[in-house]
Symmetry: C2
Subunit: 696 residues, 2 copies
C-alpha cells in the first residue's frame, strides 16, 4: 500500500511530521512506523500515532468503500447463457460466413482445414516422414491383427468383425482427427463393456445375428452421440469421469477381461455370462474337469514369450522394442504351425476355424431402429461413447503434450463420431484410440496419421488374402495376446500417487475398481461418477471456518493454521468461511460456528480482565465466497442481530461481485453498509483504530 | 505493505538515498515513488528505480515465499472426522462427567438444566407472567380446538385424535423445549403429508383401524428420528430444505389443502384420493350434482366472517386481535347452534356427529413393527420428521430472534422427538410448531411455555366435558377454519424477494410449488431438494475465469468487471478461477480458457508491435481455490507446459492450505517452486520488474 497518494506530491516527501496533516494515512503510516523503529521507541510512537486518530472519517477509505459498494450489475443467469452460446457457437460460425462472403477461396480452405485437420501438415509431408510412417504402420498392423481378433471374441462377435473395425475407422480418423500418434481400432475395455451390457438383452450364442445387429445399432448410436458432442462443443463431457475414477475403472476392467480370458486359456466350456470375479471363479471351479491341458500349455508358454519380450527384452535393449511389437504375430504364426503340424485340435485344443475373408460388407440394413430395445441401444451407445472418448482423448492428449502440440477435444469427438457412424454402416463395432497400440505407434517412430492408413491397408490385404491361414490358430493364443496387453491398463504407481495426494479421490478410484470387479462394469462406472460428484458437494458445503491473523509486517491476513506466524488482532475476530458457497445447506451451521467463536473470544477477553482485548468486532472475510442465496442472507442478518445483542459488531471485507450484488438486492447492505470494506485491514482500521480501541 | 522492515531500524528512516542499500524493497519503494511524485518527475525516477533492480533475489520476498512453501501439514480426512466427533460429542460429555465427579450437586443441576431448559427461567417466573400466560393459553385453546378437529379430518383420522394431539405433546414440549412462543399441536402441512403418503398403502375409509395404527407407527418413527437427530447433534439436517424450497413447498401445500377442503365446503361426496390440482378439480366437476347448497352457504359465510376479523378488523384495530383468534371458536358455536335449531343436517348439511370424549387412551398396543409396511412407515416417518422439524425450527427461530434469545437446534430436535414418541404411545399423531397459532400466542402476550400447558389443560377439559356439544357442528365450518388459516402459508412477497435476489433459488421455489400442486407432495419435496443440490454442483464446478487488474494506488487486485477502475498490468495476465474447486469436472475446461486468454493477449501485444506489453507471465490467483484433485494437478502441469512452449510462464499466487499441500505431495511444486508467491504483487515484481520488463 502506498504511504502517500498522488496529488499530495512534493511537499510530503517522506517527512514524518508532514504526514500528520493527512489523517487518512494513519494506518499505512503507523505500520511503517511499526516496521521501522526499534522496540524501545515504539511506546513513544504509539502515543504519537494515537494523537493522529481523529474521528473524521478517512477520506481515502471512503473512496475505496465506494468501489466495493457501487459495482456494476453482474450479468444475470439468462444473459450469461446467451453470451456463452454466442461466444462458443454463433461467433465462430458468423466469422466463417462473413469470410466466405469476402474471400470465398481462402474461407473455403480454412473451412476444409477445420474439417480435415491433417491438411495443415500435408504441405510439409515428405518422403522421409512417409518412410517412417510406413514402418510404424506395419509394426502396428502386426500387433493389431491378432489383437483385433482377440477383442472381437471378447465382444462375442465373429473374429472378422475385429479386423473390419481395424480398416474403416482408422481410414476415416486419419482424415479428420487432430492426433498424429493415436492408433485407432477395437479396444479391450469397450469390447468388454459392449458384451457385458448387450448380452443381458440379446444372447450372443443362441441368437448371434440379432446380437450382431444390436452391436452395430449401438455403434451407430455411439457415433451419433460422439459427433453431436463434437458439433455442440460439449468437449467437457469427457471430463466427468475423473482421472482417479479412470485409473480404478481401467484396472478393474483389466482384471475382469483377464478373468474372461481364462476360459480360452484353460480351454474349458460352460462359462458364466456374468463378469464379476466371484461368478467367474465359481464357474471356473465348477468346470475344471473340462480343462484342456494342451490349450493351457500352448497359451501359457506363448504368454510367457510375449511378456518376456515386452517387459524384459524391450526394456533392457531399447532397440528390440519391435520384437515386443511383433511377438503377438510371431506367436500366432508359430502356434498355428504347431497346431497344424501336430493336429492338436483333435486333442481338445480349440481353434479359430473359418474366418470370413474379403472387404468389409455393408451393414446398412442391419441397423435396427424399430426394435423394442432401441431405447436401450441408445442408452448403451451413450455410455460406450463416453467411455471410448475418455480413453481416446486421455491417450491422444498425453502423446500430444509429449510432442508439444494441442489436441482439439471437440474436433476429436467429431472425428470419432464420424468414424463410428461410418463403421456401423460397414460392419465395424465401436472403435477408439488404444492405449497399448498408440504407445507402439509412437515408439515405432510414426510421424503422422498416415501410419494408421498403412495399418488399415495392411489389415485389408490380410483380410483379402490371409484369413484362411488362421484356420488352425488356437483360441488360447488369442487369450494370451489379450492377457499380455492387460498389465498396461493397471497403473499401480498412479493409484499410489492418488492415495498420497487425495484420499477422497482414492475412494472414487477404489470404488470404481471394486465395483467393476465384484459387481459389474456399469456399477463400477456409476459408483465412480457418484462418489466424484458427492465429493464436489461435500467440498462445496463443508461448514468449516478458519480464523485469520495478520502476517508479519504486512497488511495481509492468512489462516492462522496455515501460517503459524500470523498474529491475532486484539479486539477483532477475523473469520473466513472454508467454502465457496454460503447457502441453505451450510449457512446456519456457519452462523452458529462464528457465534461460538466470537463468544469464546469475547469471554476470554473478559476473563483476562483486559477490556481492550475483548472481541468487539467480527470481520467476515468474504473474498472466497463466490455466491450466496436467500437462506444465507437471512443467516447473515440473524448473525448480525445476535452479535449486536452480545455487544459485538459484524463487518464484511472484500465481497465478490455476485455476493455484493445480492446483498444489495436483498436490502441487507443498507443495514450494514457502513461496515463493508475492501480489505480486512481497512475494516480493522475503521472500526477499531478510529475508536482508539486498538493499541498500536 | 510496510516500506521498511524491522531490523533495519534507525539508519534508514525515510531517507530515499539510504533505501538503495536494500534491493529487496524495490517494489514497495517504487510504488511509494509512483504515488508521491508528480507526473513530470516520473521519467527520471523510473530510470532511477530501474538502476535499483539488481539480479540479486529479493530477500524479503524470499522470506514470504517461505511462508507459502513451508506450511504445516493440514489434518487429513480421518483426523478431521475424529476431531469434529471429539469436539461435538465427546468433549461436552467428558466435561459433564468430570464435573459430576468433582461437584456432583452443581453438575446434576447443570445436567437437569440441559434436559429441561425451562428450569433456566423458572426462578424468575412470577404472578404477572403467569397471568399473561393464562390469557395467551386460553386464546390459543380457543383457536386450537376447532383447528385440531379440522386437521384430524385432513389427516383422515377421527376428530378426537386432533384434540389428543393438542394435549400430550404441548405438555412434554413445555418441559423440554427451548422456545417460549411456539404453539405445539397438529398442523396442516404435516396432516396433509401423512394422509397423502399413507393412504397409498392403507385405505382410511375401508380400513380405518389399520390406517390409524399405521399413522401412530409413523408418528413413533418420526419421533425416534427427531430424538436421534438431536442426540447425535445433526441439527444441520433441517437446513437441507432451503428457504426458497420451503416457501414454494408451503404455498403448494396450502393450495392442495385448500382444494381438499372444497369437499366439505361444497358438501359433495365421491372425492378423489389424489391431491394434485387436476385430479381434484376433475373430481369436483364430476360431483357437482351432489353439492349441498346449505353446507356451502354456512361454510362460506363463516369463512367470510373469520377472514374479515383476521385481515380487516385485527389489522385496523390492533387491540381486536383476540376477536380474530376467537372467531373460529365463535363460528363453531354459532354454526352448531344454527344447525341444532334448524336441524339443517336433515337437508344435506354434513355434521361432525359423535366425538369420543375423555382422556387420551393408551396406544402402545397399536404400534406395529412386524407388518410388511414397517420399512415404508420408517421412510414416511423420516420425511415427516424432517418436514415437521423444518416448520417448527423456522417458526421458533424467527420469534426467538425477535425476542433476542437463541434457539438450540439440537435441544429442539430432542424435545420434538420425545414429545412425538410419547404422543405415539398416547393416541397422538405427529405434532409440531404451528405457524398460525404461534403468531397468535405471541400476539396474546405469552411469556413462557406455560401458555402451552394452559392450552393443553383447556383442551383436556374440553375433551372430558364438551365433546358432546360438538355433535351438530357442520363439517363445512371445519373446512372454513382450515381455509382461513391457509393464506398465512402463502408468502407471495417472499417469493417476489427470492425472484429478485436469486433466480436459481426461485427455480427451486417454483419447482416445489408446482410439483406439490400438479403431481404430489413428495414429488414437490424431491424436486426442491434435487434442484437445490444441483445448484450447488453447478455453482461449484462452473468453469468460469475472471481477469484481475490492479486497483488504483494499492497492491490489491480485483475482478476487472467488478471494479472497472482496475487497470491491467502490461506483460502479465492475471486470472482467477470462478470456482472454489479445481477438479476433474472443470480443470480441463479452465485450462483451455486460460490458454485462450493468454493466446489472445499475447497476440494483441504482437499486433501492437509493443514487445514489452506482450504477455510473458500468466499469474493464477489461487486465493479462492479451496481444494484441488489429481485431475486438476495434471491439468495445471499441462497448462504450464503449454504456456512455456508458447513463450509464457505460469506463476501461482496465494495458494490455500490444502492446495499447496497437495501440490507439494504431487511433486508439482518442485517444477514451479520458484514461481509461487504470497501475493499477485510479489509475483509481478519478482517475474517482471526484476527482469526490467515492467515499465515503472
Amino acid at each position: 500500500m502506498a504511504v502517500a497518494r498522488e496529488g499530495e506530491t512534493e511537499s510530503s516527501q517522506f517527512a514524518p511530521t508532514l504526514q500528520t496533516t493527512d489523517p487518512s494515512n494513519t494506518k499505512g503510516f503507523s505500520q511503517t512506523l511499526q516496521g521501522t523503529f526499534a522496540e524501545s521507541e515504539k511506546v513513544q510512537l504509539s502515543q504519537f500515532s494515537q494523537t493522529l486518530q481523529t474521528p473524521v472519517a478517512s477520506h481515502e477509505n471512503e473512496r475505496r468503500r465506494d468501489w466495493v459498494l457501487n459495482v456494476p450489475e453482474p450479468p444475470g443467469l439468462f444473459s450469461n447463457l446467451k453470451t456463452s452460446f454466442k461466444k462458443t457457437v454463433l461467433r465462430p460460425l458468423e466469422n466463417k460466413l462473413q469470410c466466405l462472403g469476402k474471400q470465398p477461396v481462402l474461407a473455403l480452405i480454412s473451412i476444409l482445414n477445420i474439417i480435415f485437420p491433417p491438411l495443415s501438415w500435408c504441405k510439409e509431408y515428405n518422403v522421409t516422414k512417409f518412410k517412417r510412417d510406413i514402418l510404424a504402420g506395419l509394426t502396428l498392423a502386426s500387433l493389431c491383427i491378432p489383437q483385433s481378433i482377440g477383442y472381437a471374441t471378447l465382444a462375442k462377435l465373429d473374429p472378422q468383425y475385429g479386423l473390419y473395425t481395424s480398416v474403416i475407422p482408422p481410414l476415416i480418423y486419419a482424415m479428420m482427427g487432430t492426433s498424429r500418434e493415436i492408433a485407432i481400432g477395437p479396444v479391450a475395455v469397450v469390447s468388454l463393456l459392449l458384451s457385458s451390457m448387450i448380452q443381458k438383452l440379446e444372447d450372443p450364442i443362441a441368437n448371434p445375428i440379432a446380437y450382431r445387429k444390436f452391436v452395430l445399432t449401438v455403434t451407430f448410436f455411439a457415433g451419433t452421440f460422439q459427433a453431436a458432442f463434437g458439433l455442440l462443443r460439449l468437449g467437457f463431457l469427457v471430463d466427468f469421469l475423473s482421472h482417479a475414477a479412470i485409473v480404478g475403472f481401467m484396472a478393474g476392467a483389466a482384471c475382469v477381461i483377464g478373468l474372461q480370458q481364462l476360459k480360452s486359456l484353460l480351454g474349458i466350456s460352460n462359462f458364466t455370462n456374468k463378469t464379476d470375479i466371484i461368478s467367474v471363479l465359481t464357474s471356473i471351479g465348477n468346470s475344471m474337469h473340462t480343462l484342456s491341458p494342451f490349450s493351457f500349455i500352448i497359451g501359457s508358454s506363448f504368454l510367457i514369450f510375449i511378456l518376456s519380450t515386452k517387459y524384459y527384452l524391450a526394456r533392457k535393449y531399447k532397440k528390440l522394442f519391435w520384437l515386443a511389437a511383433m511377438a503377438p504375430l510371431l506367436s500366432v504364426i508359430l502356434s498355428t504351425l504347431v497346431v497344424f503340424l501336430t493336429r492338436a485340435d483333435k486333442y481338445g485344443v480349440k481353434i479359430v476355424k473359418h474366418i470370413t475373408g474379403g472387404l468389409n460388407p455393408s451393414s446398412v440394413h442391419e441397423l435396427q431402429f424399430n426394435s423394442p430395445h432401441t431405447a436401450e441401444a441408445a442408452k448403451i451407445g451413450l455410455i460406450v461413447a463416453l467411455v471410448a472418448l475418455t480413453e481416446a482423448i486421455a491417450v491422444g492428449r498425453s502423446f500430444a503434450t509429449m510432442k508439444g502440440y494441442r489436441l482439439d477435444g471437440n474436433k476429436e469427438m467429431l472425428a470419432m463420431g464420424v468414424m463410428n457412424i461410418t463403421g456401423s454402416l460397414t460392419s465395424c463395432y465401436v472403435a477408439t484410440g488404444s492405449f497399448s497400440r498408440t504407445a507402439v505407434n509412437f515408439n515405432a517412430g510414426c510421424e503422422t496419421a498416415v501410419s494408421n492408413i498403412v495399418m488399415a491397408v495392411t489389415v485389408l490385404i490380410s483380410l483379402e488374402f490371409f484369413t484362411r491361414l488362421l484356420y488352425f490358430t488356437p483360441v488360447a493364443i488369442l487369450a494370451s495376446i489379450i492377457l499380455s496387453a492387460l498389465p498396461g491398463l493397471i497403473n499401480i504407481s498412479e493409484a499410489k500417487y492418488i492415495w498420497k495426494v487425495d484420499k477422497m479421490d482414492f475412494l472414487a478410484c477404489a470404488a470404481a475398481f471394486l465395483g467393476v470387479l465384484f459387481v459389474s462394469v456399469e456399477t463400477g462406472l456409476l459408483l465412480a461418477v457418484g462418489i466424484s460428484f458427492a465429493k464436489i458437494i461435500l467440498n462445496s458445503i463443508q461448514p468449516g471456518t478458519e480464523k485469520l491473523g495478520r502476517l508479519p509486517e504486512s497488511d495481509l491476513f492468512g489462516d492462522v493454521e496455515q501460517y503459524p506466524i500470523a498474529t491475532k488482532t486484539p479486539g477483532a475476530l477475523i473469520v473466513r468461511v472454508r467454502s465457496a458457497l454460503l447457502c441453505f445447506a451450510n449457512a446456519n451451521f456457519i452462523r452458529g460456528r462464528i457465534l461460538n467463536l466470537a463468544g469464546e473470544e469475547h469471554d476470554e477477553g473478559a476473563i483476562e480482565n483486559c477490556d481492550q482485548d475483548r472481541v468487539q468486532l467480527v470481520i467476515l472475510d468474504m473474498s472466497n465466497l463466490l455466491n450466496i442465496d436467500t437462506s444465507s442472507i437471512a443467516a447473515l442478518e440473524e448473525l448480525q442481530n445476535e452479535l449486536e445483542s452480545n455487544g459485538m459488531q459484524l463487518a464484511l471485507a472484500n465481497p465478490r461481485w455476485h455476493v455484493i450484488h445480492k446483498l444489495k438486492l436483498a436490502n441487507f447492505l443498507k443495514k450494514i453498509e457502513e461496515r463493508v470494506y475492501l480489505t480486512i485491514g481497512e475494516a480493522i482500521e475503521a472500526c477499531l483504530i478510529s475508536k482508539n480501541m486498538l493499541p498500536i
